[in-house]
Subunit: 275 residues, 3 copies
């Protein structure tokens, strides 16, 4: 009837090896009717922050279902170094998140009313035995996601724990100071565009107006740019400040790469002010 159960899947596994395919296989065996949407598997290795940004950017466009996300540098650790493996039920639309408890999931959870139920799935009855020390995507996360898609409840798949124990990432935040906006690069995308850590609305507070020149300062050096709506509003090779499709401020070079032009990477600092 109507819609099949949907599972979305994001990871840092890359597509060179069989890791992603194996997780798809595990899901298909557990829930043959599930439809899996790959959000991306190109998250930079072990970059929980970039994974959290991609997941929360994508989730509002995804059908409700089970949202599997694995960026998991601490996989398989014991004792002090262990991190929980979790399944989370959100307040809205019955959405469920599955992944490691390392800060990857909370920004996405906030978009749907936050977490209302949290279970530890490290010893889930759905897991594959023996659980390897290095591939919990296959052995824990994918089978639990499949079981949830097949209709099992989180409570049947793990041990409840207090929601407030979930780990969260600190997030850098742009700040306005002396008529300038101090920013960080949150993410460098496939095109070399620089996604900044300011909501687009801060640009208006800075007094910027569409079409006007702005100055971008990197390591004490000034670069001319224009604040516009889209790439083609400036000439090829020119720098532009614009509202990214994620509703954040961003820098690009029309038909070029802002990352290469400015020599910036994730977490780099820069300052923007009216020119």
């Amino acid at each position: 009837m109507g819609s099949p159960p949907f599972i979305t899947f994001l990871s840092d596994y890359g597509l060179r090896d069989e890791f992603v395919g194996v997780c798809h296989g595990v899901i298909a065996r557990r829930c043959p009717s599930a439809r899996v949407i790959d959000i991306t598997h190109g998250v930079a290795r072990h970059d929980v922050r970039a994974g959290a940004l991609a997941l929360s950017s994508a989730l509002r466009y995804m059908p409700a279902g089970v949202h599997l996300a694995v960026v998991d540098p601490e996989v398989g650790g014991e004792g002090e170094r262990a991190r929980r493996a979790v399944a989370l039920r959100l307040a809205e639309e019955g959405r469920l998140l599955v992944g490691p408890d390392n800060g990857l999931l909370p920004p996405a959870a906030e978009l749907f009313g936050g977490v209302v139920e949290a279970v530890d799935i490290g010893r889930s009855p759905a897991r594959l035995e023996p659980v390897s020390a290095t591939f919990h995507g296959r052995d824990i996360f994918a089978p639990v996601a499949g079981a949830l898609a097949a209709g099992e409840s989180p409570a049947a798949l793990g041990e409840p724990f207090p929601i407030e124990e979930l780990r969260k990432l600190e997030r850098s935040l742009a700040r306005l100071r002396d008529g300038a906006l101090e920013l960080h690069v949150q993410h460098v995308d496939h095109f070399g565009n620089l996604i900044l850590d300011a909501p687009h609305s801060l640009l208006a507070q800075l007094g910027l107006r569409l079409g006007r020149p702005v100055s971008v300062e990197v390591d004490g050096q000034e670069h001319g740019a224009r604040y516009v709506g889209t790439f083609s509003d400036v000439d090829p090779g020119e720098l532009l400040l614009y509202e990214d499709s994620r509703l954040t401020a961003a820098l690009a070079v029309n038909r070029g790469s802002a990352a290469l032009t400015l020599g910036l990477r994730r977490e780099s600092k820069l300052t923007v002010r009216p020119a």
Copy 2:
């Protein structure tokens, strides 16, 4: 009954970010029963010509349905710089194309009898609001593709416009002169094979015969090659001229890369003659 609605999807978005996944999500929300086949998302950034070649090469092998293609350097432009966003109905098999009006779609359309209905979907009722300036794949093209797959008509999703206004690319064409064939590289594939801009049939006109040596001239320098059926007809490391699976003339190095060996890239010129 029987077959689900199919949507094929080609873009230059790459797989590092969540762009492709987000479009899949938008489609799944609009038409949960649609099956999406990714043709490729590895088209070189903004390379409309390469996208047109990949789309037209692939389309005859795709089930009839909605064919979504996005290589869109002018996304979000206004006024003179604007390009239309379009949905096109083809003469044969009820196939529908969705994408930017920049030359990407016409070569594929020609394979199925050409365009019989064209609508401008820039202000489609199916689009996601607010429409971003930079990600029309998500906000316009994917939701319109989903609506078409769900059975809506092009006329209900956009404003009709005259078919002859569709933009077309100029295409380079090989030519025979003085017993030699002057060619350009249309595309460099994953293996470093060079896809040329001549239908394979031109090689016979040049008087080439299978198994015979040919001479390949690049920047005044001659390279020996053989005109054969497939890679393993020459020794590893040897250059071969052959009929590509797209029915065009192509150059390869058995177990090597013709692009590296000859130092050629897209649009490079070369001349082929019997040795």
Copy 3:
């Protein structure tokens, strides 16, 4: 009823071109209800050995169905250089393998009781005409896989031949000598981890104990490492010997790349002994 027919797909085609998408299209036309799981298309070009390892590592996690695998350096060869194109029925679960007869398929076949029926599909009635010399994935393997998924029998799709004629790869094997284990790198994964050619059980025979230091000798140079359960059991930047999720011995650097640290690649030799 219930489960759709599953086809899994592995190749060295990469995702930059439309090759993989075209095979998906061919399958969808032949068997619209088939669900295709991409194991990976990132096998190193023409590396039959790496393809065989990825396929056999993944297959036990895949639902039963048709398993299509194409790493095919000899595609299109004639006479002495020809290789068979084959479909194989396995003893268990009704699994079917489709691909070139070059050693790619047998290791996966062994996991399910071996081959009980072998047919040559080079002239299969299911193939697409004309068959190109360079893209048998599209013209032979994908259409046969689709026909099998649609319920046709191997016998209807090819000519039977004796199972013992199937080609097999020689495999390197680690060996214990003078209290040391001489190994080769079987595979370098996306993370730079080195998958070795010893089952994990050989490490116990060498007298290694979890948590203890080991010595890794490469080109006469000694590197200190620890034999542990997982990455985070050592400090970032430290070398570890561990049991990979494929149950083989492996070397990694926590949050780094063992391939870069040790300067090793596929087939490189190394020696491991208790420190």
